[in-house]
Subunit: 238 residues, 2 copies
């Protein structure tokens, strides 16, 4: 799945056109205040400290307003994410020639961003794994998909990945890996230092299963390398 920001997703172009009467302006401002308050509260008190009543008070708004404006607490948490502008800049500097390297770099960048701000992103990922309602569509959209599909398609074009494997499903399976590793991180099963190596290990294994023979060497090396790192981390932890 892997989450992205508004610019990459292109859904919150609120800073453009539209007459934007006083009504809409006030609404937008209230929305902004709520998001800001939510971000602050998450940063300060972590996941648990974000109560709707506290949030409403901090945003200077009634308890019902966040519901009118966003719909649910989960939607607010996800909106906080949408408001984070960082991914786009980082991803645009992806300059690896090797198509598989590019995939691993992109994953690394994501992880780096997430781990750098655990309070926010743990909360956010917890919201992603919430099974109660389906706000997943917010995260799982066309532009986000296009980015990863592009990386995989490039690898296919370069002859790194066989043409017989479904690009769509390869992407989905890689995504599954990533999501569950995030979950393990959120709940504390996986220490932060292990997130990178664990992801690389999984991606390398799976990509090796999809790659052409001549590209399996570097992937094997990556598998062994990440295993080594994971062992070191466990030894250090125990």
């Amino acid at each position: 799945m892997t989450l992205m920001n508004a610019e990459m997703i292109g859904e919150l172009d609120e800073d453009a056109e539209a007459p934007l009467g006083r009504r809409e302006a006030g609404k937008a401002e209230r929305r902004q205040r709520i998001i800001r308050a939510a971000r602050e509260l998450i940063r300060e008190t972590g996941n648990a400290g974000l109560s709707m009543r506290v949030l409403a008070a901090r945003a200077g708004v009634s308890l019902a307003t966040p519901y009118n404006l966003f719909g649910s607490k989960r939607a607010i948490v996800l909106a906080v994410l949408q408001d984070v502008r960082e991914f786009h800049d980082r991803f645009s500097h992806l300059r690896a020639t090797d198509p598989l390297e590019r995939i691993f770099s992109a994953v690394d960048i994501q992880i780096e961003i997430y781990l750098a701000d655990p309070a926010i992103y743990k909360t956010m990922w917890a919201a992603v794994f919430d099974t109660s309602d389906d706000l997943r569509a917010t995260l799982w959209n066309a532009k986000r998909d296009a980015f990863w599909r592009g990386l995989i398609a490039a690898a296919v074009e370069a002859g790194a990945i066989g043409r017989e494997v479904s690009q769509e499903w390869l992407q989905r399976q890689l995504d599954h890996l990533f999501r569950c590793i995030m979950l393990d991180w959120v709940v504390g099963i996986l220490p932060p230092e292990a997130v990178g190596p664990a992801t690389q290990h999984g991606y390398a294994l799976m990509l090796k299963g999809a790659c052409t023979p001549e590209w399996s060497g570097p992937l094997t090396a990556r598998i062994l390398g990440s295993q080594l790192r994971l062992d070191l981390i466990r030894r250090a932890g125990a």
Copy 2:
């Protein structure tokens, strides 16, 4: 992760030894009533219909009792699972000679059991993905691990999987795949018919990344086969 029952896990040997005075007997009976009521409620009204007040009333106990006996709602849902005796019998009939086939068969059996009783198992898997507290240890225990580790170890012994890959991490990565596919099923992204093929596809990809050259042929076939089935399902759904 993949969940198993009490016999396989070997944690609820309540039918053995222990003086089991009247006091403990009454406790056990109340526990049983609560579990039965919970299962009924889940079956009837699905995940959402399981309220602690309704549950207590149906079990004929006070609201506080389930908390004394189990600790939390989540613990009760997981206890309902532990009470399901089915896995052991099914798994004991695993008689594939090919070590990789055995892995796929085991996964198939699991999926079959889950899909046959969606109400119960969707609720249960939703509880697994709950990030609030860590009852995960209940599901993630030594005996369960031993089973899957055994299957993988056998594949290594048979020369199907290279000795250089970490068996522990291969298991974990396969587990990640399985869990996220379950999640997608629970939230309705993945239709039931697609669960089996999707899991096989992911497992085959990853195992192919870990297998020795002479075993990659059948795995490739499995990848292509499951892709084909997934395409058919999507075509039928759209």
